[in-house]
């Protein structure tokens, strides 16, 4: 009998690595959106695990032009640190039309500066798959996701008729103009992410840690992302805080709550 010691985090890590490698094998032209948020950095880390230290495809930052300066600093630092092939995309056309948080509602701005920007850059590079860091526990609509989740040419997600996924077999075909979202973090929870960041010592922006009684639990555009009251300045303290909270992770993200079902509408139209 073999005696082995494997933890829950080991299980999650192994499954994610498996998914990365399946994706990289199947899709020749692939990219990984990278928001510099905690999940995104875990994703970069897992990619390096899967490919023995390198990220063999471009990472994509959709820059809304409303980024926190600290996040941009982190972007420059981490790009060098992980030796990433970074592509930055800004929907300059929408900004030129005056789309912005100063004048428009957050759902419109998010759609224009994130989803439409993503559509533009996807059309430019013709990627047939995107690796995303979404998790089932983040939002009820994300709970329904598959590891390999097809999107049609209009970016729509047909959540009512999803392909079956079992025995590690995934839908791996994308027709012209379509793409597949690959979601290696689907099974992870927010606490798993933190425990893993702690275990692996993964670099993340310092904004997640409390300063002057406030910290960010989820990071997005600066005008619509609220810090929470918190004194958690270490990962242990953050985990303790999360275990005691009933507030959802994305509660500080205005676009999710602007109207009823906002997240569902955003996602059906192609939001990550």
């Amino acid at each position: 009998m073999t005696n082995i010691q494997r933890t829950h985090l080991d299980d999650l890590e192994n499954q994610s690595i498996f998914i990365f490698r399946e994706a990289y094998h199947v899709f020749k032209n692939i990219a990984m959106p990278w928001s510099m948020g905690k999940d995104s950095n875990v994703l970069v880390w897992l990619a390096r695990k899967a490919f023995f230290g390198r990220v063999p495809f471009p990472v994509l930052h959709i820059d809304t032009t409303y980024e926190f300066p600290e996040m941009l600093e982190f972007r420059e630092w981490a790009t060098k640190h992980h030796n990433l092939n970074l592509i930055v995309k800004i929907n300059t056309e929408a900004r030129a039309r005056g789309i912005g948080y100063e004048t428009h509602d957050p759902v419109t701005v998010t759609h224009e500066l994130k989803t439409v920007a993503l559509q533009q850059v996807l059309a430019e590079y013709k990627w047939d798959a995107l690796i995303t860091g979404i998790r089932r526990d983040e939002d009820p609509t994300r709970a329904k996701e598959r590891y390999f989740s097809p999107r049609n040419a209009q970016f729509e997600w047909d959540y009512k008729d999803q392909p079956p996924e079992f025995w590690s077999q995934f839908v791996t075909t994308a027709a012209k103009g379509e793409h597949v979202r690959i979601q290696p973090l689907l099974d992870w929870t927010e606490v798993d992410i933190w425990r893993y960041i702690q275990r692996e010592n993964i670099p993340i922006p310092q904004m997640y840690f409390a300063r002057n009684g406030r910290r960010f639990r989820s990071l997005g555009c600066s005008p619509i992302t609220q810090a929470i009251e918190s004194t958690a300045s270490t990962i242990d303290e953050i985990i303790a805080e999360l275990e005691a909270t009933k507030t959802t992770e994305r509660a500080g993200r205005a676009q999710d709550h602007y109207e009823r079902n906002a997240m569902q509408k955003l996602r059906a139209k192609g939001f990550l």
Binding site: G53, R54, E243, K246
Partner: protein, 638 residues
């Protein structure tokens, strides 16, 4: 920020590093799955604060009684959103551990979702209503659970309040259903009489069913052991990919079963080549010891043999079965029926081959277990067939009851997963014995417009060039054998079979040499057009001749791959297998390439092998690595 009791956090209930136990809830429609889930969430304090009150209020406003089933809907924000519930996960925890409920309520695409959910579950709760008893879906779901390999099954006989908590009724259902499960080879761990609506035997023992006295639903869940990795089964390491990022060749894959250590001697199927694990590769790893079932790792080998995605590594005395024909039970989940003789893709672990169903021996109704053996040509949705499958290339398999991970596969049509099967009855043979009994080759019916689709590869011209004695013929024959063993159409053209027939009227004058190569080029093109991988082994010393050969091949839309079989003149002359160099030096042969005629080395060949530095096997491996992916580049929809 709200601060509340840690036990009742719906979003972040994970307060220990212990693995979450995933539980799928199945059963006949309206037998109370949602009510049971709602009750469990309520009784474990897993609901957000105020949720119950909010729903009670909403129910009162609508003039309805409160139902626990509403909780689930509300929780998922499903109400009024017109979203069909898909497989979804809802966390809860008991003092013992963390759980995730996988719920897949019934609707028209239920089966796909249930299979998706159940295949990820560690345990299943099957709900049967005490008043209606065992119904069609109660049986079908159990059958699918058994095929999907669920190890722990708990049967909850729900709605006991509707039958006055009658022990007699409970025993009737238990007896009937246990008998059914036994026929499937499934053993239910526990049968629990319960009322989800009234909370009887869900979180606590029921005062109304004192006659029962065994575990409640939560107690039964808590008593389940953690899902164990299959470390004690024979090793199966399934290759996902081969990486060469830093010059080293890392074979990446997952250990499905067993353990693997550096220094282990492995056999790679289907080629049956052996090599020793030099290193286990992980990046920035917590664990640097042996790899075990479930680990995604990389390995390097001490001897370079050809390995690609789909290969399965095992130990010599416990190899899997290599077969191109086998028996399986298959469930079918799409509207379009499965058809005998239709060409499908079959995926098993990381293998992907073309296959067809040769015959359907019998069809089982998954709810009644009635079988019919009426020589059917089709399998309809929701049916389970026992059938014989033939693949176009050898497949590495195990019997499902021996090693589940290598004993199950999916059938793909038009990019869509249409069904899943489990393999039985395969014969394990000693790999030293000549080819196993599981290999049956028949002539493929190759139609003109879809040769590549039919044979699973394109035709191509692999043009070897190099000095006499460089090793062209040896390599050509080895490559031919490797391709042939993969079920490919292949043929070597060399001096022996060309000069004596087609080109018997040609001599060795410069003009005749040019004509010789031209005719070879044309023949190669025709054969490649017919779907064959043609390997030519001629010195072909002139660049111009080779570039014409390339043009001719391209005219016929055949892939042309120039392989420079490179070895220094001294080495070739030292080998001199046919004593030609000796004769040329002695002046007995004139215009011999390398001696008194030039050899123009290729400027940009697709592949170079150095036979003075590589063994024949290594050269062949180099060629296959480049060649095989090219042969598989064709439009499957053509």
């Amino acid at each position: 920020m709200e601060q509340t009791n840690p036990q009742s956090a719906i979003r972040n209930p994970q307060s220990s590093a212990a693995p979450t136990l995933r539980v799928v809830f199945v059963g006949h429609v309206d037998h109370g799955k949602s009510t049971l889930i709602g009750r469990i969430l309520h009784d474990t304090g897993s609901l957000p604060e105020g949720k119950i009150e909010q729903i009670k209020k909403a129910c009162a406003a609508e003039g309805m009684g409160f139902e626990f089933a509403f909780l689930l809907d509300a929780l998922l924000e499903e109400q009024k959103q017109n979203v069909t519930i898909d497989t979804t996960e809802i966390p809860f925890r008991t003092p013992r551990r963390q759980y995730a409920i996988i719920d897949a309520p019934g609707h028209k695409e239920f089966l796909k979702n249930m299979i998706t959910g159940a295949s990820r579950a560690d345990a299943a709760i099957l709900v049967i209503s005490a008043d209606e008893g065992v119904r069609e879906q109660s049986r079908r779901h159990a059958y699918l659970l058994s095929m999907l390999g669920i190890k722990h099954l708990i049967v909850v006989v729900n709605k006991m309040d509707l039958v006055d908590y009658s022990e007699k009724r409970f025993r009737e259902i238990e007896q009937e259903y246990r008998k059914f499960l036994r026929e499937l080879g499934l053993e239910a761990r526990t049968f629990i009489p319960a009322s989800a609506r009234e909370g009887e035997n869900v979180a606590q023992a029921s005062a109304k069913m004192k006659w029962y006295g065994a575990a409640s639903v939560l107690e039964a869940l808590d008593s389940l052991g953690p899902q164990e990795r299959d470390v004690d089964l024979p090793l199966r390491f399934c290759v996902q990919d081969v990486y060469r990022f830093d010059g080293r060749r890392i074979i990446a894959g997952r250990i499905e079963t067993g353990t693997l250590r550096a220094g282990d001697q492995l056999v790679f199927s289907p080629a049956n080549k052996a090599s020793v694990v030099a290193t286990i590769e992980r990046w920035n790893a917590q664990e640097n010891g042996p790899a075990v079932a479930g680990d995604s790792i990389g390995i390097t080998l001490s001897e370079q043999i050809f390995v690609e995605r789909g290969y399965v590594a095992s130990r010599e005395n416990e190899t899997p079965i290599e077969a191109n024909r086998f028996h399986a039970d298959l469930f079918w989940i799409v509207r379009e029926p499965l058809r005998v003789g239709h060409l499908y893709s079959l995926r098993l672990a990381t293998q992907d081959v073309k296959c067809e169903v040769v015959s359907i021996e019998r069809v089982m109704d998954s709810s009644t277990l009635e079988t019919k053996s009426d020589a059917r040509e089709q399998l309809q949705r929701n049916e389970i067939g026992r059938l014989t499958i033939q693949t176009r290339a050898p497949l590495v398999i195990d019997n499902h009851d021996r090693i589940p991970d290598l004993g199950r596969f999916v059938i793909i049509d038009d990019g869509q997963i249409c069904g899943g099967g489990t393999i039985f009855g395969g014969v394990y043979t000693d790999r030293t014995v000549t080819k196993s009994k599981n290999i049956f080759w028949t002539e493929g019916k190759i139609t003109a417009n879809a040769r590549a689709v039919r044979s699973g590869h394109r035709g191509a011209v692999v043009w070897l060039t190099g000095l006499s004695g460089a090793g062209k013929s040896t390599i050509a024959q080895s490559v031919e054998r490797e391709l042939f063993l993969r079920g490919m159409h292949t043929y070597v053209l060399d001096g022996d079979n060309i000069r004596h027939g087609l080109n018997s009227n040609l001599g060795f004058s410069p003009d005749d040499r040019v004509e010789n190569i031209r005719r070879v080029s044309e023949v190669a093109k025709l054969m490649a057009d017919a779907g064959t991988v043609v390997i030519t082994a001629f010195i072909s010393p002139y660049r111009m001749d080779r570039s014409r050969a390339r043009e001719i091949a391209l005219e016929g839309n055949a892939e042309f791959i120039e392989v420079f079989v490179d070895a220094p003149l001294e080495v070739c002359e030292a080998r001199d297998p046919k004593h030609l160099y000796k004769k040329a030096r002695a002046g007995q042969i004139r215009e011999f390439t390398g001696i008194d005629a030039p050899y123009e080395a290729p400027e940009d060949p697709e592949i170079v092998v150095r036979t003075d530095q590589q063994t024949v096997d290594e050269s062949v491996a180099t060629i296959l690595e480049q060649l095989l992916p090219r042969l598989r580049e064709y439009d499957v929809n053509d």
